[in-house]
Point group: D3
């Protein structure tokens, strides 16, 4: 039922691979260092069970994740999924549209903060727990 049941097969790892790219091993290590049990839940449930479900393509899923995170607040997690969306083929222009639209539903202050996060995206540094979420 969960990704853990499918084991660490290349097919099962496709969500993490597509979203984390070359940094996958380092990100997983950082998450495990933060907390191995929370790491396992995130890996198995969020990424390999839910985000891996068919029915919505992964790029759309990442745009939805960005939208949810604009409402939640928290720049770190938002940047993680902004990068994930770009790795899935979203353009900066599409992410800009997601943010402008979010202003209508959660207000302009949260949209402004998100736009600053988008413009402040650098190439990812040495992976630490900041890369995950």
């Amino acid at each position: 039922m969960t990704g853990a049941d499918r084991g660490d097969q290349p097919g099962a790892a496709s969500v993490r691979q597509r979203l984390w790219g070359a940094q996958r091993a380092a990100i997983e290590g950082a998450l495990h260092t933060l907390d191995p049990d929370l790491a396992a839940l995130i890996t198995d449930v969020v990424y390999e069970t839910v985000l891996a479900r068919p029915g919505l393509d992964l790029k759309t899923r990442e745009l939805l994740a960005v939208t949810a995170l604009i409402g939640v607040g928290g720049e770190r997690e938002l940047k993680t999924h902004l990068r994930g969306a770009l790795r899935c083929g979203a353009t900066v222009g599409e992410l800009k549209e997601v943010i402008i639209q979010a202003a209508m539903f959660v207000g302009f202050p949260k949209a402004l903060a998100a736009m600053r996060a988008l413009r402040g995206l650098e190439p990812p540094p040495a992976p630490d727990a900041a890369e995950v979420g």
Copy 2:
């Protein structure tokens, strides 16, 4: 700059027409009755300026709106955009996926409430302000 500048042309009304269908006139009447100034802002800014922007297709925009509203709470507005998404070609299965994924980012209670809203969608009644948002 805004939809108001484009006037009430069929092209400019395409977002409201696509999302509200045959109920468009009645919905706009109900919104105007609720408050003419808030109605004008919503019509001009939310629908005809922002949701009408190119760069993201309208079906994706409605899935993003649903996601934002799952986080915000409030069943009425969520149902409006669930219906809008269906009118744009989203399937109930895709909306189910949007909701399941939202549980990862805003928690299971809000996702449960959204799933009840999705399953409780009836054909829209006599349009009132409930249709808009």
Copy 3:
């Protein structure tokens, strides 16, 4: 330091009297029935200590309370302070402006819900815990 220290003098009761009017005794009874300890905290701290502070007039304080409640959600508490604002001399037009402005900061869905609450204000029914908050 708190309203309780000032006792139940007419001066000290002025905030509750101004906001609850002729329903004051009934509202306090309903709140006490809901929970006597929470009732005492709300009466002493919210109303007679904080809302009674000089520095901001009570009408402004009620407009601020309405704004906070638009963000928090929850129609019942919002209606209580919409009525309180009207009893303090705010007009329906001013409350309309508070709601329209709130859309900019917390999004249009919450503002729409608040506008429905404003338009749905009836004369208060038999006071119960719904009148307080």
Copy 4:
């Protein structure tokens, strides 16, 4: 790693049994009817993986769940976990304390709404999706 891996053994079902009591089968049926995939996630991840973890007793876990839900809003899910807490040995007096304390951290309006939910708890009706969350 998840409850699903442990199968539907009486030991593994202990969290759902303790929290849902005699209504367990009916509640699970209602949740499955709402959405079988969301139901499976909630059953396996929320209840049988996370709430079943050692390290915190189940009564404390339910008090924490109640606190989280006071902040989230949503009366239905809150009532579910108020009942779960009572089934775990919490007293109405302890739940009252949880609510009064919540006022300090998330404000009095949310605490008031929660106190109404607590006082409005009836014996659970025919189980439907309202019992879960």
Copy 5:
């Protein structure tokens, strides 16, 4: 209908001029650099359409904005409107009252964070996107 229709006349710019003072041109430049479309929406809709509406004086509007932002979180946007309120004639004492009252409706932690923001207000640095929102 919107401020954009009124053009960049001194009368139409009065809201931005009153709230941003001598930094207006620099702030607008920084916002435009962040994103020209979001900048135009904020300028036209938030400031020159909604905040420019009659019915509430601008000082009251800024106190309401501060209250909304205490609930939303996010120190940057809060500081922008704390400064705007001061420029409109609000006193630090009045802003203190707004914050203390907010504790009743959204909890003490958010009020504490807002009080730190108020006490940490410095004269505005070289204007960047931080000044807007």
Copy 6:
């Protein structure tokens, strides 16, 4: 009715003493410097009235406070109550469980942020307003 009525007796100060330990005087000084009126409200109402109430032990109360703060956001206040929980006898393992469970109710991003706050707890520095909340 409130802690203030009981005066600054050792018994009445037990909540602050237990939660703030040797830093109590410095913390109270920092809070007073931030704002004497907000400080008095927090001291009298939050700590010495509500958290001092019988019915729930203080360790449980701090776990509930941590849960509330995970939902609210804001790392500073969360760290204050993580430290308070540890001073009350909670273990890092128990706090980890509180955080993992919070993911189910408010989503994984907020839980991740809280886990980083827990792992980033250092011995408290020179007390300032950061220690209170």
